[in-house]
């Protein structure tokens, strides 16, 4: 990323005392760095050993010893405006880079501000490591200044967390947490670092990051069940592959694509699975679920064999469980045994790494399913329920048009981040995703405000030639708008398109459908002018009011080498369809409000 500013940390010369570690026969690691002398140095050494390049955070009292060491490290620290931003940025970094993103916060309010981002990573199985400062051990439990029981608060929303008590072991704790975050089913881990521990003396170098002995991951599925599942696939008349986020996180995209294409099996993705299978491919039925395409939901509802890979059958995907794939035998591939038969009973449970298990299946399936009629039916549904919309010139701009226009103006490798709301659904529906790790959003938690900090994290993990586009809503953007200061300070080339309808639009849509059209607290009559606000932050601001502006403005915003914000004034009455009402039947999706 050529636009990236110089690292904000300063590198101090560290080569003067480099001989000790080299000459020691016991040294586990080849390192020319000076030996660690404090817990904080051990923490940073562990991050360096793990290959961490970026960390996102906010400085503060209890985490100061760690920052003191980070200041002299090769790791680039990005100071965020708010800890929530740090957590979302680290989360997005983890999604795009495929390795844990790191965020830091101080104790008390710093740590609690991280929680939304940690919970988001937990729901979406994103690899992330959070390091929080803590008051000195002797004050713990005394309600000391800026004390919070951080491990207690984050226990339900982390894959694992640790209260570190020993300067000799703190580096190992951090390395272990990093390894855990990215191994098996990814997720957020947290290490709480009391100030006396990070300030404490130690001469112990942390060992290489490794997961604890009690943590074991099953790589390959039971061959017998694989064989049975393969037979089922061969006999299928109406097969569908349901591809989830686990396929992207497990780097199984190639295996899944090859398998589906070789056996001509229609592919539906979940929302986190967008990009796992090219949406411009004939076999792609695109996204299923509450706001999935009609054809994806028809395919799921009528299939006889459902091959779910790396999906946890979330309720936004399944709708009512009774009516989800009611005729199907379910083959479920997941690395987490606890996901098997949690929401949807699996006739063929295949526990293991997605890439490994799909390869096992590929080897075992001898003949493709005879499903010519089914594929024709799927194509018929694609034309019956095509995602068309009308965009009359004399009416306000349709958000779908803007999404498609930006998609056309960017390469296939552009990365899309979003906030949460209607704009997020239009991005899902009208952007054509073809590559993995190009879709970064808050799925399970649905955290408004995710988009902008996520764009910052994604920018640092992206390649130089990848554009980063953030679709946001006016409500969502306002929740973390302060992170624009960071994007400007770090001169990050990101383009934010605010699909502005002066509503919490998704709430407004639900109020229209289910709450007698009473727009309680969903109307934002006082929306700021985002283009001007962007300029005040030091970013470039643009505004789109009608169709004539669209192409030119998008071109200018994309061409600008730095953060730009397009305030797109869209049709405030536009709603997201198709829609399956909460807990409803996926086959009975509504195409208009009248059908709800």
């Amino acid at each position: 990323m050529s636009e990236r500013a110089a690292p904000v940390t300063h590198h101090e010369a560290q080569d003067s005392e480099s001989t000790d570690a080299d000459s020691s026969p016991d040294a586990e690691l080849e390192t020319d760095a000076t030996p660690v002398t404090t817990g904080a140095e051990s923490v940073v050494r562990a991050l360096e050993n793990a290959g961490v390049e970026y960390a996102f955070g906010v400085q503060g009292g209890a985490i100061m010893p760690v920052y003191h060491v980070l200041y002299g490290s090769e790791i680039t620290h990005v100071t965020m405006a708010h800890e929530q931003g740090a957590a979302h940025a680290a989360d997005a970094y983890g999604i795009v880079a495929g390795e844990p993103g790191v965020c830091l916060a101080t104790s008390g309010p710093g740590a609690t501000n991280l929680v939304t981002g940690i919970a988001d990573a937990d729901m979406d199985s994103d690899p992330m490591l959070a390091l929080t400062g803590q008051v000195p051990t002797e004050f713990v439990g005394n309600d000391a200044f800026q004390e919070t029981d951080t491990t207690g608060v984050t226990k339900p929303v982390t894959k694992d967390n640790t209260f570190s008590t020993d300067a000799d072991a703190v580096g190992d704790d951090v390395g272990e947490a990093f390894a855990l975050a990215g191994t098996g089913r990814p997720g957020p881990t947290l290490v709480d670092l009391p100030k006396d521990v990070t300030n404490g003396e130690t001469d112990r170098e942390p060992s290489e990051p490794r997961t604890p002995d009690t943590y074991e991951v099953q790589e390959a599925a039971d061959p017998e069940i694989v064989r049975a599942a393969a037979r089922r696939i061969e006999e299928a008349k109406k097969p569908v592959m349901l591809v989830g986020g686990g396929v992207i996180k497990g780097d199984a995209t190639e295996e899944v694509r090859e398998f589906a294409i070789e056996h001509e099996i229609p592919v539906v993705t979940t929302m986190p699975g967008l990009g796992a299978f090219p949406e411009d491919h004939e076999l792609s039925m695109e996204m299923a679920g509450m706001h999935g395409t009609g054809y994806a939901n028809m395919a799921i509802t009528h299939c006889d064999t459902l091959i779910g890979v790396g999906t946890r059958f979330d309720d936004r995907l399944t709708g009512g469980i009774e009516t989800f794939a009611p005729e199907a035998e379910v083959i479920h591939v997941d690395i987490d045994p606890a996901e098997i038969s949690k929401n949807i009973h699996a006739e063929y449970p295949l526990v293991g790494d997605a890439a490994t298990v799909v390869s096992q299946l590929a080897e075992e399936v001898d003949s493709s399913p005879q499903a010519t009629k089914w594929r024709a039916q799927c194509q018929q549904w694609k034309s019956d329920y095509s995602m068309a919309y009308e965009a009359p010139e004399d009416e306000p701009v349709k958000p779908q048009f803007v999404v498609e226009a930006i998609d056309e103006a960017t390469s296939d490798r552009a990365i899309v981040t979003t906030g949460v709301g209607q704009h997020q659904m239009w991005a899902c529906q009208y952007w054509t995703f073809t590559e993995p790790r190009t879709w970064v959003s808050s799925h399970g938690l649905g955290a408004m405000g995710y988009g902008l900090p996520a764009a910052i994290g994604a920018r640092l993990a992206a390649d130089d030639d990848q554009e980063v586009i953030c679709f946001d809503g006016d409500g969502s953007f306002l929740m973390t708008i302060q992170e624009l200061a960071v994007a400007v300070r770090e001169n990050m080339d990101i383009t934010v398109a605010v699909l502005n309808n002066e509503y919490i639009g998704m709430v407004r849509q639900w109020q229209d459908a289910f709450f007698e059209g009473r727009h309680a607290a969903s109307e934002y009559g006082w929306c700021p002018e985002f283009d001007k606000l962007a300029e005040a932050f030091g970013a470039r601001g643009f505004r789109i009011d009608d169709y004539d502006d669209v192409a030119e403005t998008i071109e200018a915003a994309l061409a600008y080498d730095g953060p730009s914000v397009i305030d797109v004034h869209i049709d405030p009455r536009e709603d997201v369809y198709p829609m399956v009402p909460s807990g409803g039947d996926n086959g009975q999706f509504a195409l208009t409000e009248d059908q709800l």
Binding site: Q218, D336, P337, S341
Partner: protein, 220 residues
């Protein structure tokens, strides 16, 4: 609202016939699967470190598992503790309890104990001491031991199965019970069988739903 999308309306679309029940499990019209809750004992071998108990109890509360009792104590290995958890859940719930427990990093192994496992609970029962000889007689009957006596009270200690303790409490109630404290059962598998072996968590993933339905077997 716009709603410009086309295609047949919901009522014009075909409806598949198969159904799943509210637990996501196929409903076979002939043998409809019923999932009655049953009481069972789950034994978990865990790292003996601070916070594990809250990990486990937090897991139970946030996933709404119906926990009856939970006991925990050290084992022969000073780095490991054993938790004995009694749950009352339908079979899919029990399976989830086991799987979710295995996901906790400090948890080494988890197992649902067979119905013939040895289970013992300790109870302290404090009754009014107006008829001390009769209290002693009832205590004898249940193999209970007197552990404290005062002019007004008598406290006995009793170990055994839940049913035995329930029965004892009922008998003691004739004297007027002042206070009771019970531990909940702790349990071990019989004979040479390991209660919760140190096997890797992943290996224990079972394809089958547990078939055993027997709820209790009294070892007394």
């Amino acid at each position: 609202m716009t709603g410009e999308l086309e295609g047949p309306a919901p009522e014009e679309r075909p409806t598949p016939e198969g159904k799943r029940n509210s637990q996501g499990i196929r409903v076979d019209p002939e043998v409809e699967a019923e999932h009655e809750p049953r009481r069972t004992v789950i034994s978990a071998l865990v790292e003996h470190e601070p916070g594990v108990l809250s990990d486990v109890s937090g897991l139970f509360s946030r996933r709404q598992f119906n926990i009856e009792s939970l006991t925990v104590g050290p084992t022969e290995d000073e780095e490991r503790a054993r938790m004995t958890i009694v749950v009352e859940e339908p079979d899919p719930g029990i399976e989830q309890v086991e799987k979710q427990l295995r996901k906790l990093v400090p948890v080494i192994s988890v197992r649902e104990l067979p119905s013939d496992a040895m289970r013992r609970e300790l109870a302290l029962i404090k009754v009014n001491a107006t008829r001390p000889d009769q209290v002693a007689a009832v205590a004898d009957m249940y193999g209970a031991k007197s552990v404290d006596a005062s002019p007004e009270t008598a406290t006995v200690e009793i170990t055994g199965s839940r049913q035995k303790i329930d029965a004892a409490i009922e008998s003691f109630s004739q004297f007027g019970i002042r206070e009771i404290s019970r531990t909940g059962p702790t349990a071990l598998a019989r004979g040479t069988e390991d209660t919760a072996a140190g096997a890797p968590a992943a290996e224990q993933t079972s394809r089958q739903q547990p078939t055993q339905t027997q709820t209790t077997s009294d070892d007394d």
